[in-house]
């Protein structure tokens, strides 16, 4: 039975590790400025935890086999209540490992969440509702118009859905769309909002995720670094349509972005 345990535990360990190393399923390609740092932290954690995982599982299997009860031929058990030196060694080692990892990662976290967006960032307001994302650009005046919960009408399309108050002068040039366009290599300043329940704005390729919470307007920033189409998913249970609360972000060149926004402005007139 000890041998069977050895075989199965080692097999499970090596099969899982094989898929982790060969990685047919892996983080999607990173296309934002912060992706590299996050991925690096991920891989560091991954290698360290992988080593601990393999060592712990293999010694568990090994001990199960090696110290099985072999009847009378076996050496007597080692009567011991423990070893304080060993306890201290592995307490300190794991302490250093875990706290060290934490400190490494916290720098990236600080850059992600503590620093405000640059002044040159493109402002985009993201609004989540059951079960769609709407994106708003402030237009040439750089100011978002007022929205009013009383005016919200999801059945009447984008502007009405987020309750844009068209009597506000700042709202005149606001562009509201269902697909997000972003210029490449320029920081985006997101304002995340939700009108009904909590949603979570998740762009796997950009290593971006933040809950959109009713009652709060949360600011986040991200810099896309590659032109392309990327999927947006909702990552917080928001009701029966959670699985289809899906959107697209199209990262384009600055010229294409300017052209696109000008066309939207023209449509509004």
């Amino acid at each position: 039975m000890g041998l069977a345990l050895l075989a199965v535990i080692w097999l499970i360990t090596f099969v899982s590790t094989y898929f982790f190393i060969w990685h047919p399923w892996w983080l999607p390609a990173g296309v934002s400025a912060s992706a590299a740092a996050i991925d690096h932290q991920f891989v560091t954690t991954y290698i360290l935890m992988g080593i601990v995982f393999v060592l712990a599982q293999c010694s568990l299997g090994l001990f199960a086999w090696q110290y099985r009860d072999r009847g009378s031929s076996a050496p007597p058990v080692d009567y011991s209540h423990g070893n304080t030196t060993m306890e201290i060694v592995w307490t300190v080692l794991t302490g250093v490992l875990f706290v060290g990892l934490n400190l490494m990662g916290s720098k990236i976290w600080a850059a992600e969440r503590f620093e405000p967006a640059q002044a040159s960032a493109v402002p985009v307001e993201v609004t989540g509702m059951q079960f769609a994302w709407y994106f708003r650009y402030p237009g040439p005046d750089g100011k978002f118009g007022i929205t009013n919960p009383k005016l919200m009408d999801p059945s009447a399309g984008s502007e009405a859905a987020i309750g844009l108050d068209t009597s506000d002068p700042a709202a005149k040039d606001d562009v509201v769309t269902g697909t997000m366009f972003l210029p490449v290599n320029r920081q985006v300043d997101f304002t995340l909002r939700a009108v009904d329940v909590i949603h979570s704005f998740f762009i796997p390729n950009m290593r971006f995720k933040q809950d959109a919470v009713p009652g709060l307007a949360i600011h986040m920033h991200v810099t896309p670094t590659q032109i392309g189409d990327y999927e947006i998913a909702c990552a917080e249970l928001c009701g029966l349509g959670h699985y289809k609360m899906h959107g697209m972000v199209k990262v384009v060149s600055q010229e294409d972005f300017d052209k696109w926004i000008a066309a939207r402005e023209a449509e509004k007139q």
Binding site: I12, M49, L60, Y79, T91, T94, V197, A235, H242
Partner: protein, 588 residues
């Protein structure tokens, strides 16, 4: 000086009476409204067994729906996306509250904590009975949510408002959600009664010589679990009351101005984050409530079957205390992406990583216990080794999720689902299985079948890895959790084969559980009679008759001379020295 004057109201003064009588004889007082902690423990065990089958059946329906969304099942019919969410809500709630909290603590803790410390019963037997029946009522109310208009709630076991706080956010958010939160509030009261009973019993009713540092690690784990329950469930009760008020009286604790389906709701000024704080203040200790008893049982069984003292008894105790203590300071790691202050995230992350240290100590000490032992592979030992393996696998994904930086890609994906299922789901369940196989002879007076037990172990061990390991791959690929269908998001299409594999693994694993149930009931009726100490173990429960008499020790109170795990003592007559045997020199 014994200053416990007047314990008269509780077990103390009645113990003399208990000695004189053999316990109640009528069926109702003996088996239904019994005050005997052993009967109550078995009642809890069967309640959890019922609940785990319900929960497992729900999970199977979910897995079937994910792979074959169009299939028409007998009785259940065609599963809608909203039904899927109801299934996952009820699966999570039933498993967490009525299985992982109920079986290890209410079941085995109730049965064995008093016996292991040499007490004739719990400190408050009536409260103990009330605690069980209140839990039972909570379970019935929970199940009732399936049968009301709109069905069971769809807000997940965490019940985040506004989804859970407003009736019009989805089907199932009507009466079903009210029953759900009511059931949880009732469960809080039941757990509170249980927790204060466990704590008082451990403080007051340890037999002469049973000092704190001679208590079996199982007793320590139930004791610490009870402290966590005492402090955590009170907060959940408050949160539940406030949620019920938001839902039915129009208050706005958790709800700001919101517009649902174009309808402006009457709420204003509340904050969804308040619920998350209150909920996770309970919710994170709850995770340890589920896993700590498993750790205790594993320690006990590893030592017994390796025929070796537990490695570093004191370190094990301090590690459990450390886990319990730190467990109250880390709730925010569930909220890194929630809009919580990013500064709090930094503190929560550091404290969460710190919890890895006592967890690692426990793992190393389990390995140290096996090292140079003489391992006997009976079924309980297999499950205990399986527990260690799963605890390592599930634990090591923790440091990923504890870092807010890595939570950005991983939060609310299948990575989290895999993590908590391995560690708090399956590892805890392995603890329950290990305890069942280990203590079954004492509880029912018969041995379980080893062959069926081993078959059950191998299928379950491999099966659960096959279900939950791939979830980590899904999570890394960005698969969000709680998606009822995989058709709407393009990058999920590549992941369907993995989901299919997991569904087949689930079929096999659930099939294996039939072996367990057959073994359980068959052995209860037909198993060979068990000796008083079939495993050559050392703790006090093995000194008494099998099954134990009404007051546990036939009118005697045992006297304790040794630590709990004296195996292979050099020079001793046999390879184990029981706690009630004359003292051995090396004992602490």
């Amino acid at each position: 000086m014994d200053r416990r004057a007047g314990g008269g109201e509780t077990i103390m003064a009645t113990s003399e009476v208990v000695h004189a009588h053999a316990g109640p004889q009528g069926f109702i007082r003996k088996y239904i409204f019994s005050l005997d902690h052993k009967v109550i423990g078995i009642q809890y065990f069967f309640l959890a067994l019922t609940a785990v089958w319900v929960g497992m059946f729900l999970s199977l329906l979910m897995r079937i729906h994910l792979i074959w969304p169009q299939v028409n099942l007998p009785i259940v019919g065609h599963i809608q996306p909203e039904t899927y969410l109801s299934l996952l809500t009820m699966h999570g709630t039933i498993m967490v509250f009525f299985v992982l909290t109920t079986a290890p603590q209410g079941g085995f803790g109730n049965y064995f904590l008093p016996i292991q410390i040499g007490a004739p019963d719990m400190a408050f037997p009536v409260l103990n009975m009330l605690s069980f029946w209140t839990t039972f009522v909570a379970f019935v109310v929970m199940l009732a949510a399936f049968f009301v208009t709109g069905g069971a709630p769809l807000h997940g076991w965490t019940g985040y408002p506004p989804l859970s706080a407003v009736q019009s956010t989805g089907p199932g958010e009507g009466l079903g959600a009210d029953l759900w939160i009511t059931s949880i509030a009732i469960f809080c009261a039941a757990s509170l009664m249980g927790a204060l009973n466990f704590i008082t019993t451990t403080l007051d009713l340890r037999a002469k010589g049973m000092t704190l540092m001679r208590m079996p690690l199982t007793v320590w784990s139930w004791f610490i679990t009870a402290i966590l329950g005492l402090l955590a469930f009170g907060v959940l009760l408050s949160a539940g009351i406030l949620l019920l008020m938001d839902r039915n009286l129009g208050t706005s604790f958790f709800v700001p101005v919101i517009v649902v389906n174009g309808q402006l709701m009457g709420h204003k000024g509340g904050s969804p984050l308040l619920w998350q704080h209150l909920f996770w203040f309970f919710g994170h200790p709850e995770v340890y409530i589920a896993i700590l008893p498993g750790m205790g049982v594993t320690s006990q069984i590893l030592s017994t079957f390796a025929r070796k003292p537990i490695f570093g008894y004191r370190a094990m105790v301090y590690a459990m205390l450390g886990i319990g203590f730190l467990g109250f300071m880390v709730w925010g790691h569930h909220m890194f992406m929630s809009g919580m202050s990013p500064y709090s995230a930094f503190a929560f992350s550091l404290l969460t990583m710190a919890i890895g240290v006592p967890s690692a100590i426990k793992t190393f000490n389990w390995l140290g216990t096996l090292y140079k032992g003489r391992i006997r592979f009976y079924t309980p030992m297999l499950f205990a080794v399986g527990f260690v393996s799963l605890f390592v696998s599930g634990g090591l994904s923790g440091p990923f999720l504890a870092q807010p930086t890595l939570d950005i890609p991983l939060h609310d994906t299948y990575f989290v689902v895999g993590h908590f299922h391995l560690i708090m789901g399956v590892a805890a369940i392995f603890g329950i299985f290990a305890a069942t196989y280990y203590w079954f002879p004492k509880m029912f007076g018969r041995m379980m079948n080893e062959g069926l037990g081993k078959a059950h172990f191998w299928l379950t061990f491999i099966g659960t890895y096959a279900i939950f390991m791939p979830m980590h791959y899904l999570g890394m690929a960005g698969h969000p959790r709680r998606y009822s269908q995989l058709t709407e998001v393009a990058y999920l299409h590549n992941l369907i084969p993995l989901q299919t594999f997991m569904t087949y693994a689930a079929f096999i694993t659930i099939g294996a559980q039939f072996i367990f149930v057959i073994n359980l009931f068959w052995s209860m009726l037909k198993g060979p009679k068990a000796a008083d100490n079939p495993w050559d173990a050392t703790t006090v429960e093995w000194t008494t008759a099998t099954p134990p008499p009404h007051d546990n020790f036939g009118g005697q109170t045992p006297v304790i001379h040794n630590g709990p795990y004296e195996y292979g003592v050099p020079g001793a007559a046999r390879d184990f020295v029981m706690q009630t045997d004359p003292a051995v020199g090396a004992a602490h």
